[in-house]
Amino acid sequence: MATTETMTLNMGPQHPSTHGVLRLVLELDGEVIVKVTPHIGYLHRGIEKLSEHRTYHQILPLTDRLDYLAPMSNNLGYILAVEKLMDVQVPERAETIRIIMAELTRLQSHLVWIACHALDIGAMTVFIYAFRERETIMEIYELISGARMTSNFFRVGGLSQDVPDEFVKKVSDFIDVMPGYLDQYEGLLTTNPIWLKRTVGNGFISAEDAIDLGLTGPALRGSGVDWDLRRDNPYGGYEKYQFKVPVGEKCDTFDRYKVRLVEMREACKIVRQGLDRLKPGPVLADYPQVCYPPKENVYNSIEGLIHHFKIASEGFPAPEGEVYQGVEAPKGELGFYIVSDGGNKPQRFRIRPPSFVNLQSIEKMSLGTMIADLVAVIGTLDIVLGEIDR
């Protein structure tokens, strides 16, 4: 009588296809997965705790470091939460630039996703191509904020500064060529038999399970749930834009791939609409109790300098209360929950990270599949450990 027993195998935290420092303890029956136990926390920096000891303006740079592949989406979610708490109205130009940048960020995040996802499955060309396009977005980041990744460009009440004149041309040129590049990726993948073999039917999760497990973003839409915060609970001016929300049918990795690709095309259209709406005007709200003064005032008048100094060091007191603001970040619903006790620092600062909640369904999606398919599941979930561990 032959007996079989399962084997326990450790995967990560230093593993190229776990997208950072994710460790999975696998229980295997041959090559088939019986149990997956994720271990996270290797990148825990205590951002929530740190934020409770900083003023509202000082928290902003920390949010860049959550999902470091989509810094402006994090900035947007955070400042929208603070603006809701303080009841600040943002000038139209600032609102439009924010949406342009948020959508470019979505493109950037999805480019990294398609690059790494394809590389994990074995399609190396796509990786090089997608990183080439991502470089252009990084250059736009650098142009407006001076930094390629930790941009820290938005401010409560608007933007840190207006965009330079080249901005519109640079973004416009990029948006013109991007759909062609997307066709290129699709040409490499969508009908590629190896890609189809690896993704069709892989990582199945039904709509009910997806909602029960709290999946959000493209991963939820891939399971056929037609829900997008930008359309259904518009924030930051999204109600003025027209775009389609792609929905999958077969709840598998291939459908999530298609959803994200359509999302990239729609992001290009939103950026185009944003560029058309862009008109000259102020980029910072005139709300001196909360917002920084315009830079000309800081450099040219003592009152402006004192104002800047006061806002930067002391911050502003927020009214007692609590707000939650969720935004449709590239990876799902990113939420910021701020409880204020009336002081200049939050009593409680909570980040609802989409990747953390999405990662929970890895077990559901990979049970009974092969180890190689688990790699595809990690790719399709599109996780970033900076956001999971905070």
């Binding site: 909602i211 029960d212 209360g321 707000v323 929950y337 009593q347 609802r352 953390f356 990662l359 929970q360």
Partner: protein, 162 residues
């Protein structure tokens, strides 16, 4: 207005004696209920009012500010109706435990583990209550207000020097 919110109307009808407080701030409705009826309230909201997505679950530490030290916070969202409601329930330090919400949503599993890890609130009947972000042998719960920012064995944080 908070009084016309569909969740508030139904909850007042069904759980009148359990509701402690209803607040509206910046258009967001928060209902505070008693701890012993929290699972019934959540189950009712999910099954009868279609609040099918548990967006977030966390806690707030009100050390020295409120009678009951902790406040559990549940952010619910209804995908069919596209609206949300926040349910809160106080948890005292002496009886620092609450029934688990994993029986209502499976999402609650990791979120409750995180709350346990960082606040030290235990969840009764939780299927897998282990630390999640901190290491297994960690002592203390970092997000508690009496936990020093710099860590337990270093000089306390005195504010920014610049």
């Amino acid at each position: 207005m908070a009084e016309n919110n569909r969740a508030v109307l139904k909850l007042k009808e069904k759980f009148a004696s359990s509701i402690i407080d209803v607040v509206e701030f910046r258009g967001e409705v928060t209902v505070t209920v008693k701890k012993d009826s929290i699972i019934d309230v959540l189950m009712f909201l999910k099954q009868s009012l279609q609040y099918n997505l548990l967006t977030d679950l966390t806690a707030v530490d009100y050390l020295g500010k409120k009678e009951d030290r902790f406040m559990m916070v549940y952010q619910l969202y209804s995908i069919p109706n596209k609206d949300c409601v926040r349910i809160k329930t106080p948890v005292s330090e002496a009886d620092c435990s609450i029934p688990t919400a994993t029986q209502v949503w499976r999402t609650a599993n990791w979120l409750e583990r995180e709350t346990y890890d960082l606040f030290g609130i235990t969840f009764d009947q939780h299927p897998d209550l282990r630390r999640i972000l901190m290491t297994d042998d960690w002592v203390g719960h970092p997000l508690r207000k009496d936990y020093p920012l710099q860590g337990p064995d270093r000089e306390p944080y005195k504010g920014r020097l610049s």
